[in-house]
Symmetry: D3
């Protein structure tokens, strides 16, 4: 995992630019727009999916987006609990890092 | 995947009884109760987590529970879309089986 | 795994039609078209990716496509060997089913 | 999962023969021989590894081998408990099938 | 992976405290207590499960616990061999880090 | 992920030496030799398998080997596209790191 949220953002933007410059890969971004389910719920779905698949950078991305959509701490922990039950104790190290990310963000 | 929803339910109950009789394993069931997030959202989280981890029986379980909580077809497809984007094309066979399960349930 | 290749094709087409009718999900199909790498190589990549991720239906799909692109039995086994080394002995049951699929197809 | 243990054994032997006839793949079988750890412990390790990776056929193989090495029901359930805690609730459907396999074997 | 064992322990304790303070998640710790199987065997099961699921922090935790339970180097390597055969060459980078952790611990 | 390619090579060699000194584990290296499929294709298969299984060190290894076998940038991106479609958006962070590795290597 990249060391700080700021470092993650920098690295992500730099490499995404390199990837997009190759003009070969497309990344679908409409999935998380409002639909039958609100954006907030979709971002929570993306967060839990990322946690059980144990992708730290994906978790970081969705923790940030969830916070932007107004997810509260108790709601985060409800989502974490589902990820933990479904994915087992191997999710715990990723949970630690998710909570560390959450603490880097402004509280609500 | 067990052939029909009815067969799945029968097999699941029979084997769960055998497992619980051994009196060794405990299965946490409070995670999906109402908390900061409503039950419906939690079940959707369980559904998407099960899809990206590609567990057909888990998907069946949460499809049934989501329907019981009032999840509509468009909401199901929004959740499926997140699972598909996060988990990739290997999710597609499980999506086919999830939709087949959905068609076995009474419409809303 | 669906029992025969014919049953797989039927189920796949029926459920794909149901999924596409919902008009919500898009499935990228241009990835496997000829580019810097020939179609045959891309299908082999799809096959090995499906084997190490242990998705039987995906393996079936790519076994068929690889055969259509002229992949020979020794080439198939070279690809299987990479999947086995990278993915470990848990790939073996999927290898058995891949070989069973191969035997259902007309030889070359 | 193949329907019965007998059907599994038949299919496994038939396909293994087809695979070995291709004379390309080698399968390491010395790993489970007695070493610093006894065979019984190694088979339990193979069982739990197969459960958390959710490979039903691998689980079947190691359930049979564990029983042959004298693993008792309470020992099986101790191993299942570790798999369940590490791998989460997605392991449960595979646990059900493991217990069903165990019931097919002669008791000890 | 956190850089040193000491750093790992510090980070783990700090984040666990933050997580437990939220009073929402429970972590089952009785699974690894002595039962039909001895603690040492259970820790070896946890180690191999963590290796095939490729969770470095989990591997670190169980390497330490196994050593505390008296697991010798040849026994560690027997367990590593099972993880490698079951999980394939993708386990190798995690094996390297497991061995590095082992070298940080006092020898027996 | 180890910080630089040079650091990765150093760590890999040091730990491999420690592992081989234990004289217990064997690593099959013949799989990637020329056979029915050329070495270049086999290395691309290893690369895509490593990407969908999200093993950064394995990806680094195969990126280097692919480059040595003459894989061009457009060919790399074709392989990346297959990995992305099969494995989903959780592959993206690993793609970023793969591209960063590619930029560390001499261009062709």
């Amino acid at each position: 995992m990249t060391d700080t949220l700021e470092a993650f953002r920098h690295y992500r933007e730099k490499m995404n630019a390199a990837i997009l410059a190759a003009d070969n890969l497309t990344i679908n971004t409409r999935t998380y727009e409002a639909g039958a389910l609100p954006v907030k719920t979709k971002e929570l779905l993306g967060l839990v999916a990322s946690m059980v698949l144990r992708c730290d950078d994906c978790v970081t991305y969705h923790v940030v987006r969830c916070r932007e959509e107004g997810v509260t701490d108790p709601e985060f922990y409800d989502a974490f609990a589902v990820a933990l039950v479904v994915g087992g104790s191997i999710v715990i190290p990723h949970l630690r890092r998710a909570v560390a990310r959450l603490e880097e963000l402004p509280a609500r």
